[in-house]
């Protein structure tokens, strides 16, 4: 693996016993974990190719404990890595050998629900789906639905700005969060945003969401809840080419329709899914589109007709419309099982997450085909077609020497091409460690330094989750002082410390 984490600080490792003892004073008993066996449970998140047991795990139960732990770490220059449920696909919660892993799993309470103001106030360890469970009795739900929603925590969703299949219509986490309580690296507790729609000053909440645990530790979240749509219907549409499927997607949107979900699968993904769940996907098509429409019955019925008409105009070769929720769920079952289904085709798979302008889809898929031959590795494609978010699944065998490296190189090439056609490195999984070293493909050094200065405004000692997002961590003092104008450093010959 090419990716390197920061070299552990030997001086910190030498103080390990003292550090554990100090943390245990703040979070006593089972809340501080230091035995090797139990630390291993935390060695990786959803990006399992990277593993590193933390120096110590603390599982605080109150905001005051989080604050005290961070304040102690800050005072003693010890790094901290926050973790929710550990489902990140980009390594956002990958521990550091010389760092404290700060788990928020004990923050499990729904604190307050106000149906008049359409808000729920929850602790960060509450799972995404548990928010919906808490409010569904009154006909409400929490809209962002990352595929891991049964396990992933809302705190992690805030850190990663998680999406899901319905985010074209309902937005990402950032569009559904109104406020949070955050603990800064030095232990200070702040409230950003609130229960009202607009913030009072700069939208600081807006940068905390999606900051991948580098700016602060969220200890309370206020989310917007919505009335659950009356019903949903899905169409399963087969096409003889990816181009006509792509054209159908563009025409649906051009007709003024924003479906609740619009998913595409390519031939390999269709076959893998059908072989796995047997839901009657057509096997003689090159691309399969799932279009879900939700709302009142009159709207669903009307839009199903519209989408059907557009699909036929684009030469759909098969078309199935869900008659009831059972059939709709069957249509989705194949798509939702696509990752494990593709996983059966090879011992390992590597899931990518670039976004492209949709109009560039055919050439991006063509390039993937070429790369697939070049690297000698298969690739299946599932695709959030509505918003251009690709999930190529690269097939490999980690037990064959060099294959993981080849898979990673293949993935990097795909992401580089996404950027080249006007897209981005990650649509919803985050940069983490996984795409950290690709950041210069999308951003110049000036762009990245500007983002890092924001990091410095929150965490001047760079103690919170270092080694993620930024390929090179500049010391804040250095970023603050040296003014690089048009690439020319003043007095380039002078050494700087």
């Amino acid at each position: 693996m090419s990716l390197k984490m920061p070299v552990p600080d030997e001086a910190v490792l030498a103080r390990r016993n003292d550090i554990v003892a100090a943390l245990r004073k703040i979070v006593p008993g089972e809340g501080t974990i230091d035995d090797a066996e139990r630390l291993r449970a935390y060695e990786s998140d959803g990006l399992t190719a990277y593993r590193q047991p933390p120096m110590v795990v603390v599982l605080p139960e109150t905001t005051e404990q989080v604050s005290a732990v961070l304040a102690w770490c800050y005072a003693n220059r010890v790094k901290a890595v926050p973790r929710g449920s550990g489902t990140s696909l980009s390594g956002g919660a990958l521990p550091l050998a010389d760092g404290v892993l700060l788990g928020l799993s004990k923050f499990k309470r729904v604190l307050h629900i106000d149906y008049d103001d359409c808000i729920a106030v929850v602790q960060p360890g509450v799972t995404n789906l548990a928010i919906t469970h808490a409010v569904e009795g009154r006909g409400f739900y929490y809209a962002p639905d990352p595929s891991s929603q049964i396990a992933c925590s809302i705190g992690g969703n805030v850190a990663e700005n998680s999406g899901g299949v319905h985010c074209l219509k309902y937005g990402l986490t950032t569009n559904n969060v109104l406020g949070c309580e955050i603990v800064m690296m030095d232990g200070e507790i702040l409230r950003l945003g609130g229960s009202q729609l607009d913030p009072a000053g700069l939208d600081l909440l807006g940068i905390v969401v999606g900051s991948e645990g580098l700016l602060g530790v969220v200890t309370e979240v206020t989310v917007r809840i919505r009335p659950k749509p009356e019903m949903a219907r899905a169409l399963l549409i087969g096409f003889s080419s990816v181009e006509s499927a792509g054209k159908c997607v563009a025409d649906v949107i051009a007709a003024g329709i924003i479906p609740a979900g619009m998913e595409m699968m390519d031939r390999l993904a269709i076959h893998a899914a059908e072989a796995f769940v047997h839901v009657g996907y057509p096997l003689d098509v090159e691309a399969l589109l799932i279009v879900e429409l939700d709302g009142v019955a009159a709207e669903c019925d009307f839009l199903v007709g519209e989408v059907q008409r557009i699909a036929q105009a684009n030469g759909a070769v098969s078309l199935r419309i869900s008659a009831d929720d059972a059939e709709r769920n069957a249509i989705w079952a194949g798509r939702k099982a696509a990752f494990p289904a593709v996983g059966r085709l090879a011992p390992d798979y590597y899931c990518m997450d670039g976004t492209i302008p949709r109009r560039r889809l055919p050439e991006v898929l063509e390039r993937m085909k070429m790369l697939s031959q070049h690297y000698g590795l298969g690739v299946a494609n599932v695709f959030h077609a509505g918003d251009g978010n690709l999930h190529p699944l690269i097939l490999y065998d980690a037990n064959r020497p060099g294959e993981l490296d080849r898979a990673e190189a293949f993935g990097s090439d795909i992401l580089r091409f996404c950027v080249e056609v006007g897209g981005v490195l990650t649509g919803e999984h985050g940069v983490g460690v996984e795409k950290r070293d690709l950041m210069p493909v999308m951003f110049s050094e000036v762009d990245l330094q500007q983002q890092q200065r924001v990091k410095c405004a929150f965490d001047p000692e760079l103690l919170l989750n270092p080694g993620k997002v930024f390929p090179k961590l500049h010391r804040c003092a250095e970023l603050g002082r040296v003014h690089v104008h048009q690439g020319k450093v003043p007095f380039p010959d002078l050494p700087r410390f």
Binding site: D114, Y115, D116, D117, I119, N161, G171, L172, I189, L190, L192, S195, Q196, L197, D198, A200, G201, L202, D203, L205, G206, I207, V209, S211, P227, P229, D251, I253, A255, G256, I257, I258, G295, V296, A298, E299, F302, L303, T355, P357, H384, D387, G422, G423, V424, T426, G427, E428, G430, M439, M442, F443, S444, D447, L448, Q450, V454, A457, F458, H485
Partner: protein
């Protein structure tokens, strides 16, 4: 497949009409970098302005004006991608016309503040409404400017051009700096290009009203409607006047069969709250337009934009009852437009006691000199905000004292 070639932008101001020397009006990014670098070297400050429609918000300042109207025109617009890239000095009216020509809209419903200040309309630029975070009635259902700003290019107070965000609708690469840009009021950097998410324009809209409700009844009814499956796009309330009953208004929009069905649903949901009528199209347009021009809050009393959780709207207007006040609710009660002579401390305390805050939008210079436009933040958040500003603008080029 860009359609920019179709648009000529007659409203972009030419450089032959460049005004006197005092304001600086860069023609391109190079000019802008020079202007900012020079200001930084001389310890001067610059106030970033588009059309100047909101120039009378905030404390009076004699900082040199940085006129951004030279950055004008659409860079790329491909309607099925739902993405529009535009230069910030482009007039808002022009941008609205461009997206309307493709049956799309700026869903955050931005509007021109010109009418509020009695200086007519047409001056507002797209960069100005984004930088000021201006969102209209539809913010309730579609989100704010911050939710639709996908990416930008800008020059920081360090004189460095940089980009952030992206030009696709779904992106989590790097910090979400566009969120900071929306509502930054020119305090961080000068935008040179912005990429916005656009959405299909609804096929039709219908406004359902109940007349004669008290503020408390109205907010209850709006909460019920917003929490129903009728998918309310906008919810507002105009109190009774000497000649008219109060009016609670709920806008539904979308495809015709859907709007009709949801209208019936809404009428049933609100049956216990009074007669639900449909407003004639002209009247409906006038009602919603009034929330942009605030014509019914005319006069020269200080005008506040009070943000609170929706259920607290009535508490705000009750607390200023002792003073002469005109007001309206938007966002189901979460936004109170309040024109009042009440003391600023009184308004701000009332907002704070509801967990919200109040922005002073319009007031005489003598008031704005002493009363800040924004509600003061807690010490910790204010310090963080100052550090974030420094991260973009260490020498305070954009610290004009206006905010």
């Amino acid at each position: 497949m860009s359609i920019k070639a179709k648009f000529r932008f007659q409203t972009c101001r030419g450089f032959d009409s460049m005004p006197a020397l005092h304001p600086v009006r860069p023609a391109d990014e190079r000019d802008l970098i020079d202007a900012i670098t020079q200001a930084a070297e001389r310890g001067q400050s610059l106030q970033v302005l588009g059309g100047g429609s909101k120039a009378a918000i905030g404390a009076p300042t004699d900082a040199r004006r940085l006129d951004m109207t030279g950055f004008c025109g659409v860079v790329d617009y491909d309607p099925p991608e739902l993405v529009l890239t535009v230069r910030p000095g482009t007039p808002l009216s022009e941008v609205k016309a461009v997206v309307a020509s493709a049956n799309q809209m700026l869903a955050f419903d931005p509007f021109d503040h010109g009418a509020i200040f009695g200086v007519g309309g047409g001056a507002a630029t797209i960069g100005g409404v984004v930088a000021a975070g201006v969102s209209g009635s539809q913010r309730l259902s579609c989100g704010a400017a911050r939710d639709h700003l996908l990416g930008f290019r800008a020059v920081s107070g360090r004189g460095e051009a940089f980009i952030a965000g992206g030009k696709v609708v779904k992106n989590v690469t790097g910090y979400d700096l566009p969120k900071l840009a929306a509502g930054s009021w020119g305090r961080l950097f000068a935008l040179t290009e912005i990429t916005l998410k656009v959405l299909p324009r609804p096929q039709m809209a219908a406004t359902y009203v109940i007349a004669g409700q008290t503020p408390e009844q109205a907010v209850k009814a709006m909460a019920l409607a917003v929490g129903s499956r009728a998918e309310v796009a906008a919810a507002a309330y105009r109190p009774a006047s000497r000649t008219d009953l109060s009016l609670t208004a709920l806008r539904l929009q979308g495809f015709a069969p859907s709007v009709t069905a949801r209208g019936a649903m809404l009428t049933a949901v609100l049956s216990g709250y009074g007669n639900v009528d449909v407003l004639a199209e002209g009247e409906a347009d006038a009602f919603w337009q009034n929330l942009h021009t605030l014509g019914s809050l005319g006069g020269d009393r200080p005008l506040w934009r009070v943000n609170v959780p929706p259920s607290h709207g009535p508490q705000i207007v009750r607390s200023v009852q002792t003073a002469v006040a005109d007001w309206m609710f938007d966002w189901a009660g979460g936004l109170v437009w309040l024109a009042t002579d009440a003391d600023h401390k009184f308004v701000r305390d009332a907002a704070a006691s509801c967990g919200g805050h109040a922005i002073l939008v319009r007031a005489p210079e003598t008031v704005r000199k002493d009363v800040p436009a924004f509600q003061p933040l807690s010490a910790g958040v204010a310090a963080l905000e100052a550090r974030v500003r420094q991260a973009f603008d260490p020498k305070g080029v954009f610290a004009t004292g206006r905010f």
